[in-house]
């Protein structure tokens, strides 16, 4: 097929423009109507613009009712007319869908050609024009398809389309329907720019674009104070990351003299314009800092759980399947550079492993269904970085790929549950939904099995190979951490499953009567993603089963650390161990959470948790601590006390402490800094002219002295 690559990102951009324009025109018409009503209600409000009179504040309050604006939980303006909704839906889904078709039109032949000749695989680079030229250095607007971007492109467009489709049903009652699709399309455009970029500055455009969309969409329900606070947190942490990213780009420029991805080949052949080992390490560390910000790694992970304040499709698309994996993509893209600085890789591995286990352990005791998934995402991202850190970049990307399917499915499933329960997100108020929402139940079960790492679902293959790589590379501690995390993952996923779908419904009968399965636009994506959660794993079967297609496909693009081979027997053993651990986690979750024991009363204390007598008995046996727990019938607290206790210190520091000290600290520090600098600025900017003149004179004196002393 012969069509330019730029069409792929251009289509969502077109969608953004059309949706934005339509929503603007409609909004303007509505505003005019409201304005007329308002003027009718306030006939005496003249248009005399009297300069200097400060009466403009009036009308601020009485306009409120006339405005007819509801500041409720949701954006509940009047529902859009059906024709407009149809337009937004068709444009939103259509453009992204078409982009998907176009990408697969390029991807499939490309993948075939790569697989037929892996050694000779060349990236497709399409240069539109020279964007910036300084000296001999030129930065182009150019798109690149190679194995790595092809892999990203495939699931970004595919999963993206499904989530757009899902949003048609999920968001239809929202007044900001058009705005939502406009943002979502803008996000797709930015993400595709990020994926298809041929150089770091262009990647940075996408990087900032997705960040901006994420920020705006977290604040979608912006009358919630919480959303604003979450937006702030996301903003601060991402700025820290971006700072690293920008400096990293400058560093790459300094090392290789180019920001074009050809520097990857240079790094492979160890051709650097300049650079000491320390310099390479610093550049890698800076890029990784950027990756940490975007991909929510310790210590910059705190924003992601809070980002769940946005609508659920956004959580699925941006904060689970695509954007947050951009950091992994960046590390994989620069893998050849990282391989030049093994210490940086060690850093990556440890940060990844630490994040994985920390987030998983926090996820054990969450009651908000989206929070569980959010921590799970953080934890899985940690796995991906762990893979990169032990040199198995291809495996890390494979996990990115499989994760996109099962995590999107889980999020969309949780969205379906939330939709069914009319925006209830507390799992303690759920239960027994398996019969009421069969499609959601089944797809979520499949994807939960996938994330738990049960053979033959997708997550098993990718996760097992990560652990295998860690083991083969001799990183036994990292391996152990990963294994424990796998167990925890299985446990909290099935805790979620049991609390949501098993047992009996714990809300009021009146609420129960309203529970319904979601419409087709929502369930169809669920089925497709569920199928993906089953099937995608087979693209990367471990070596013991033959050729690993995924690793082979990616080999032209990403580096690989030379790893020690392990015997087949060991490999089978490892698989068995990880399966056993996952099974144990699931078993424990099934045993402890039956979903039938306690009745949840809305507004009751969190002690009223649903756990079985088995769990009760278990905690009774564990001594004084257990007694406390058992008395309160609070298994979650028990888990927290028992499982988290090894991490208690780090956990407290990182989770609460870091959050409070560093992030809130950073937020508050800006307040403190403002105070401090305020005093400093005030010292000079006193408002009094003579002090200004004094500053001036001191400046003249300072410069004169400076020149003279030199």
């Amino acid at each position: 097929m012969n069509y330019p690559i730029w069409l792929i990102p251009a289509l969502p951009l077109l969608g953004f423009l059309l949706n934005g324009l339509a929503s603007l025109l409609y909004g303007a018409a509505q505003a005019q109507k409201r304005g007329e009503e308002w003027r009718k209600a306030h006939p005496d409000e003249g248009h005399g613009h009297d300069h200097g009179s400060h009466e403009a504040a009036h009308g601020a309050h009485d306009s409120h009712d006339a405005h007819g604006h509801d500041h409720g939980h949701h954006d509940t303006g009047p529902m859009l007319p059906w024709a407009l909704r149809l337009f937004h839906g068709v444009v939103g889904v259509g453009t992204v869908g078409l982009a998907t078709v176009l990408s697969f039109g390029i991807l499939v032949p490309y993948a075939k050609s790569v697989m037929s000749n892996v050694e000779g695989a060349r990236p497709i680079v399409e240069t539109l024009y020279h964007w910036i030229q300084v000296g001999g250095l030129s930065i182009d607007i150019a798109f690149r398809i190679d194995a790595l971007s092809a892999l990203m492109l495939s699931f970004v467009t595919f999963v993206g389309t499904l989530i757009h489709l899902y949003s048609v049903g999920y968001m239809q009652a929202e007044a900001g329907y058009g705005r939502f699709f406009a943002y979502l399309n803008l996000f797709m455009f930015s993400m595709l720019m990020l994926v298809l970029a041929n150089n770091l500055p262009m990647l940075f455009i996408g990087w900032e674009g997705v960040g901006l969309c994420s920020y705006l969409l977290i604040g979608y329900y912006y009358d919630k104070d919480f959303a604003a606070a979450a937006g702030k947190k996301a903003f601060v942490t991402n700025r820290v990351g971006d700072f690293g990213m920008v400096l990293g780009i400058f560093g790459i420029l300094a090392l290789f003299g180019t920001t074009d991805f050809s520097f990857v080949d240079m790094a492979r052949q160890q051709q650097m314009a300049s650079g000491t080992p320390l310099g390479v390490y610093a550049v890698c560390a800076l890029l990784f800092l950027g990756a940490c910000g975007k991909s929510a790694q310790v210590p910059l992970y705190v924003w992601l759980p809070d980002a769940m304040a946005g609508p659920t499709p956004v959580s699925a698309l941006i904060h689970a399947a695509t954007m947050v994996t951009a950091g992994v993509y960046l590390v994989a893209r620069c893998s050849a550079v990282f391989l030049l600085a093994p210490d940086a890789l060690t850093l990556v591995a440890w940060v990844g492993a630490g994040t994985a286990i920390l987030a998983a352990s926090i996820g054990l005791a969450q009651n908000d269904i989206k929070k569980v998934l959010a921590y799970s995402t953080v934890s899985q991202l940690g796995y991906m970085f762990l893979a990169c850190g032990v040199g198995a970049f291809a495996i890390g990307m494979f996990h990115v790929f499989t994760h996109a399917f099962f995590k999107a499915c889980l999020f969309l499933g949780s969205g379906s549950v939330i939709h069914a329960l009319h925006h209830e997100q507390d799992m303690r108020a759920m239960g027994g939904l398996a019969k009421k929402t069969p499609a959601t139940h089944l797809t979520m079960l499949v994807s939960a099995l996938a994330i738990a790492g049960i053979v033959p679902f997708a997550g098993f293959f990718s996760k097992d190979q990560i652990l295998g790589s860690a083991f083969a590379g001799g990183h036994y501690i990292l391996f152990a951490v990963g294994l424990v995390t796998a167990g925890m993952t299985a446990f909290y996923m099935f805790r979620l499953y049991r609390m949501t779908f098993s047992g009996t419904y714990r809300g009021t009968p009146e609420q129960e009567s309203h529970i319904h399965e979601s419409p087709l636009t929502m369930t169809v994506p669920l089925w497709i993603l569920g199928a993906g959660s089953v099937l995608t794993g087979f693209l990367g079967l471990p070596e013991v089963f033959g050729k690993n297609l995924m690793v082979e496909f990616l080999s032209p693009s990403v580096g690989k650390m030379h790893a020690h081979e392990v015997s087949h027997a060991t490999e089978y053993l490892l698989m068995a161990v990880s399966l056993a651990v996952a099974g144990a986690g699931i078993f424990l979750a099934f045993k402890w959470y039956t979903g039938q024991d306690a009745k949840f009363t809305p507004g009751a204390a969190p002690e009223d948790i649903i756990a079985s007598p088995a769990a009760h008995a278990f905690f009774e046996k564990t001594g004084t601590l257990g007694k406390v727990v058992a008395n309160k019938w609070n298994v979650d607290e028990g888990i927290e006390a028992l499982v988290l206790s090894p991490f208690r210190k780090i956990g407290t520091f990182l989770w609460r402490g870091f959050d409070a000290l560093f992030i809130d600290g950073l937020v508050n520090a800006s307040a403190f800094m403002v105070e401090l600098t305020g005093d400093l600025v005030r010292f000079f900017t006193t408002g009094n002219v003579r002090n200004y003149a004094l500053t001036f004179v001191l400046g003249v004196l300072g410069f004169t002295l400076y020149i003279w002393m030199r």
């Binding site: 003579r690 002090n691 004094l694 004179v697 001191l698 003249v700 004196l701 004169t704 003279w708």
Partner: protein, 186 residues
């Protein structure tokens, strides 16, 4: 004693005393009178330096024009209530130090022995004649005013014209800001 030396010291002393008076007098009116004194002494220094035309301009524009403007304004905004208030800045100490330091530093540089090696001054004739050339003739015109005039209307014609726009702006601005009513011209 060379009279020019004597007059230099006299005018210099008046200049400095006048300037100090400007910045130390409590009443603006007194400051203005000291300022007048400085202007006149500076005009005297101009004459000593063979700048007769400028000396005249100094007296006419400064002493005649600007001073009158100042005096008018002082009468217009005649504020008596500040008699008791301190009339200098609270940070005056730092300011005086800074000003004085500036003096010492830069003055030291300028008057340092190695710094001004200009030798004796050039022939003042250069300031008192101008040479007019055209295709046919070469005429030497005597007189400082003539020399200045030729410079002003020939070489400095463009800045001169810009200066006229500048003065126009000054006029418009003074009218705009000084006019009491907001009404337009009607």
């Amino acid at each position: 004693m060379d009279p020019s030396v004597f007059f230099f010291w006299v005018f210099a002393a008046i200049t400095v005393v006048g300037a100090l008076g400007v910045i130390t007098m409590r009443q603006p009116l007194h400051s203005a009178l000291f300022l007048l004194l400085t202007f006149l002494a500076v005009a005297g220094l101009f004459i000593l330096q063979h700048a007769e035309f400028l000396a005249a301009v100094q007296v006419l524009v400064y002493a005649g024009g600007i001073m009158v403007l100042f005096l008018f304004t002082i009468m217009l905004v005649n504020v008596r209530r500040q008699a008791k208030e301190p009339f200098v800045n609270r940070r005056a100490g730092i300011a005086v130090l800074a000003g004085f330091f500036l003096f010492l530093l830069v003055g030291g540089v300028l008057t340092g022995p190695a710094l001004v090696k200009k030798g004796p001054p050039a022939d003042p004739a250069a300031l008192k004649t101008t040479v007019i050339e055209n295709s046919t003739a070469r005429v030497v015109v005597p007189g400082n005013s003539e020399a200045v005039a030729w410079g002003l209307y020939r070489d400095y014609l463009l800045p001169f014209e810009v200066a006229s726009v500048f003065l126009l702006v000054a006029m418009i601005g003074a009218v705009v800001l000084g006019k009491r009513s907001l009404e337009k011209f009607d």
